[in-house]
Point group: D2
Chain length 395, copies 4
């Protein structure tokens, strides 16, 4: 397909990594301007991967103009405005610092880094770059699920009153099978942590963002249910049925994480992140109880937000199933008529929408690296508490 | 964005009409080969609209290489392999016949036509063309919602036993407000009928397809609750808030349709299509009860199929909420990891997948015009019964 | 257990019949004054059955002071104030007329009778008796499910605006097995009709009562899926697994009934009553759509009413799950703290509450026989329409 | 009502306390033999309360033959076989010890006591009495909700494989209003603790019972959101709207409790008990994930158990909504036909059923005092951990 070259201002993107997140980001870069009026039209300039053949295939499959294998060389290109980092967490620090140093905007997948120290250095670099008009953002895309955006709006408008309780669970089951193969996500050196950083990080960001409060302390427990797994022939980012007779390698990350947290606004939260909740596939469940209202969300029914308005007459009170598909709802009006729900990938499209608008306005896109560092600090406190008999640990 | 020209075989598409359906079809043509291995890569050659400026804007927005205003001229082009008809029902007959005569494959939105006679002529033409390797298909895309595809599979495998009952409702509410503006969808000359043909047609096709049975007779009632509406300045395909003081024009189609039907396999079905079910936005609800099992679906939770297996021990029986997002489910494996749901538009992508595969295999894509004619005949029987005091009327 | 004799005014009850309905009524007579302040304390005087031994056992099991076999003799007793008729429909007419003639109040299970003629005579007798302070009531107990009572209140307060659509389904599956045994409920001479009168009657009463509108005409279809069944050794009111090799007898009632109806207030309703909806056990589903609001109910989640308030801002609209267990809700405050749900039998308790209050106030309890006659007339119109090719038929 | 005196063996009951729990227990004693075949027919001999007038009223209202004010005197009566303790937790120890010493069976409401020491003494006394054929039981009635009984059965049969995770929440909101009045339930001297012992205790018992595993250690947090409340004129067991200008007294118990726990079978559980989850009325939510299956329950839909069978083909997997109202389900067959759900109080009836059967068989009814002591020890560990910065604490 040879679409005409965009006539207006563009944002030329280089994406590094092309697995699951790369596919999702590509879908967003390719489609955002088809539904939203963007001040900068994304141009999918180049995708970078370690293996030339696979990178070329990704370029063709996902619609990138070119592919490359040397990300450092790509950073030097004049025809790249933004670097989109979709690689495992252990590489974020190096790539992001280099990209910012090269004057490129950065979109970095979460978790921001594999340690607080790395995240701090990245944040420092991002803030320095921001002063020069070069911006960095972290990809907590669930902020852009319309139902969760609506949740934040309602809290921000005071509809819940004072927040007292938060419960947040991210339940998956793709490691429930003890013979599911070992991948980089179970290797601490690459992934930093297990369920905690991979999916628990989303809960931390989402609840801090929705409530507008920061977590100040935690008590935590981590558990590895299955301590070795079959070594697969080829690493893949996602599960699959392993071969029980195969060589097994060690799992050195958490399979599940639990923690209780206090927020600086007085709320108490309870968190769980697990890949062992058999039957739950991508159940991100967030409930918030305030003095005046409550909210409940489950990603397995992602177009719905349940809102309890405690100021209504008791006789009519109840959780209202808001089917977040109306033009009045965030992001939704640019898509389909009311009632025609969105899917997982739309959050990535919305991320591109917000990012390009902020870049065009020369405003800091959110979540910033500082926001992501705040998440990293909570992850760190969780690990410290878990290592210290769950003792209460400040963030 | 300047993607490389596809290297392999292509399917060069001309799309006529660029409103709601045009946007959905464009999204499908643009993305299908990004997730699925297609034997023919779609090339978005030209979009056709009555107004040159709006057509040009649609081309840029949706990613078509060119725009045009004369659909007849487009049919003569050598660089077009398929004509995708996304215009109101009154134009389908003329365009489809011309396109087939010009040797172009045709994808035609539903309902196939505004009368049985038209549909019969179109079917005859399609069958003649098919003999020459030129194929026509009708766009009942809900067949490609993975949960409904799974429903058909389960029925086809005998998991429900003998089908006894069907209940099917398509509930919307965008006309509930009596001051919602008049559009072409409320004009019988353009739309053929109201809720019946627009959304009831989907129920007819889906239930016949899922059950593998054909409707043989009906008893029906049609009702127009709001007989005049404000004339909007500009026709649009979808609702919106009207101006109560404005000039009003007549509504001459049904606002809601109800009918009871017998299927040729012995099942009895009850149907309702309405745009007045306040609070229901796009609730396509289909339940099927057999001697061994049952199924239930609601588009407002479109990634889920509820399956009751009556052969299990009674103690464990119940409707199983199958979250249709596993690699084992139809279409889903090409998208995201398990649990990351799809949205409305993905059905259109799947339609392109199936269509290109059939065309490459030189097989008749389904639903064929004959399938769509069968729907048209039911619509016609419904109208005849409703006009004859609901008396039982053969299809 | 020897409770003290009630000190205040009493209502001395004779109950005729002691199967399923007899058990439910007994539970109500025995418990209503334990939770509610009643002006008349029920005294369970005598239960009547055809077989002396089984009647005696019922008396002991259900807590009746005595048992008897001759209902005519019981009607003559001075120590009986009310006759509670829990027998099959073919006996209602004779017993109710005799009881009213004997000066006893009457509570008669639904459907009121097996024909309109009978129901008319009963209504006439009831109205004549009412003039003498002797009252008759029909037992459509679903009116006393708190969620449905709340539904009527909301409609009555205008919260739904003008009612436009009603959909009502009563789905069971206990006859889905073709070898479920033949009982009196499948014998037209005893039961009058099948699913139609047994469970469809509830839908008719409930929707007329909730909407405050009367059905004026119908188009209907009846179907008997299984035309013969094993003859069980002993008739029982409910299903069970039959013996396929046993002698089979004919089923001469409907297994399922479907009809479309117009209400005198302009609403259109669609109804289904079936014992063949595999997987649905007692799913009484009622939805009402008005111009300003909508309601939805399913007896399988009987403590919940879903209310859509269309006057709220669109962004917050949705069906509110009202968990009808608050002191502010009808009947509920006399039971348990908020959130501790009720069950099936509580509707019968509430029936006793309302009935004794009306009797003490010398007011006509509702539903009156006239209300039940109105249901009977709709049932009759349904049967006539079904016998006349579904042609529209006035009530 | 003067029912005949039971002819067979009886169980003569004295009940102490007649508030919320007294009402529920009375309902059970009064009705159990109306639906179930009991080896011992309960005789409601005497109800005991501190105030003579209120006790007499309770006797009449609930159906007890007599009332009394001196529980010690009642223990001496020869015509009492069992003492049913429905008073606040601070009195359980004294009454239970005295009753057992007097040779009476004991049914004691939960939590067993206000301290581990008391509970240990009670357990010791109960075990000694048991050796003499005098039995004691603790009233964790949620074990008798049919859906939870089914849950235990499925786990016991190995259908879940090895249990890995438990999540348990008991969410209420009746104290969310800071002006809800102070009652004995917020007074540590009377209630022992707040949400923890009142509702958290149910979660501990239910999860230990369902999984068949014991909790070995915890990390916990307690919080009192509202530290003073209006002093009501009269203590009542349940909420209500207070008078903001009234005198306020201190709340010295927890409003909410959170803890993480390890079970001796290797499972990890996360628990929350709160009276501040605005919009949740009596949401007892229990999920259990094993290697082969999972279960989910919510008391707000108490007739339903969701069961995920991981051994089925992936394509058909999902949580099956088992509507626990079939004759095949525990307890249910003695009530109504399939699909006619039960309510809160039925668990108390089932408790009487099981208790009388065990007593007649001279077997230890469960949960025994030892079972309840195990709960008490967990409660104690929770309090110790919470007082020690959430540090992991052995039970």
């Amino acid at each position: 397909m040879s679409s005409p070259t965009p006539s207006g201002p563009t944002l030329r993107v280089a994406m590094i990594g092309h697995a699951f997140m790369g596919a999702a980001h590509s879908q967003a870069w390719r489609n955002a301007h088809r539904f939203f009026d963007l001040p900068l039209t994304p141009v999918m300039q180049v995708v970078v991967g370690r293996d030339a053949g696979r990178a070329a295939h990704a370029a063709e499959r996902f619609g990138w103009a070119e592919s490359a294998t040397d990300w450092r060389a790509v950073l030097e290109r004049d025809d790249v405005d933004l670097v989109d980092i979709c690689t495992p967490g252990n590489t974020h620090h190096e790539i992001a610092l280099a990209a910012l140093a090269a004057g490129k905007h950065v979109l970095c997948e979460k978790p921001l880094a594999n340690s607080v120290t790395e995240a701090e250095e990245m944040t420092e670099a991002a803030e320095a770059a921001g002063a020069r008009g070069v911006f960095a953002m972290c990809g907590f895309t669930y902020r852009r699920v319309p139902a969760l955006t609506l949740a934040r709006q309602l809290v921000g408008e005071g509809r819940l009153g004072t927040i007292r309780q938060v419960r947040a669970q991210y339940l998956q089951d793709w490691l429930s099978d003890p013979d599911a193969p070992l991948t980089w996500r179970m290797d601490k050196a690459l992934a930093g942590s297990g369920a905690l950083g991979d999916i628990g990080a989303h809960l931390i960001d989402a609840t801090q963002w929705i409530t507008g409060q920061s977590i100040t302390g935690v008590s935590a427990l981590l558990e590895t249910f299955v301590t070795s797994r079959p070594v697969a022939g080829e690493a893949s980012g996602l599960g699959g049925s392993g071969d029980a007779s195969a060589e097994r390698g060690p799992v050195d990350v958490d399979d599940a994480a639990w923690f209780t947290a206090r927020f600086d606004g007085g709320a108490v939260g309870q968190f769980e992140a697990t890949r062992f909740a058999l039957g739950r596939k991508n159940a991100i469940r967030i409930e918030v109880n305030g003095t005046d209202g409550s909210l409940a969300f489950d990603f397995e029914d992602m177009n719905v937000l349940h809102f309890f308005d405690g100021t209504k007459p008791v006789r009519e009170q109840g959780f209202t199933r808001v089917y977040v598909t109306e033009p009045d709802h965030p992001y939704v009006g640019s898509w389909w008529p009311a009632g025609h729900g969105l899917g997982y990938e739309h959050g990535f499209v919305h991320q591109v929408v917000d990012l390009t608008r902020d870049l065009a306005a020369r405003e800091q896109p959110r979540p910033s690296f500082a926001d992501a560092l705040a998440v990293q600090r909570v992850l760190d406190a969780v690990e410290r508490s878990a290592a210290d008999r769950s003792t209460w640990t400040g963030v």
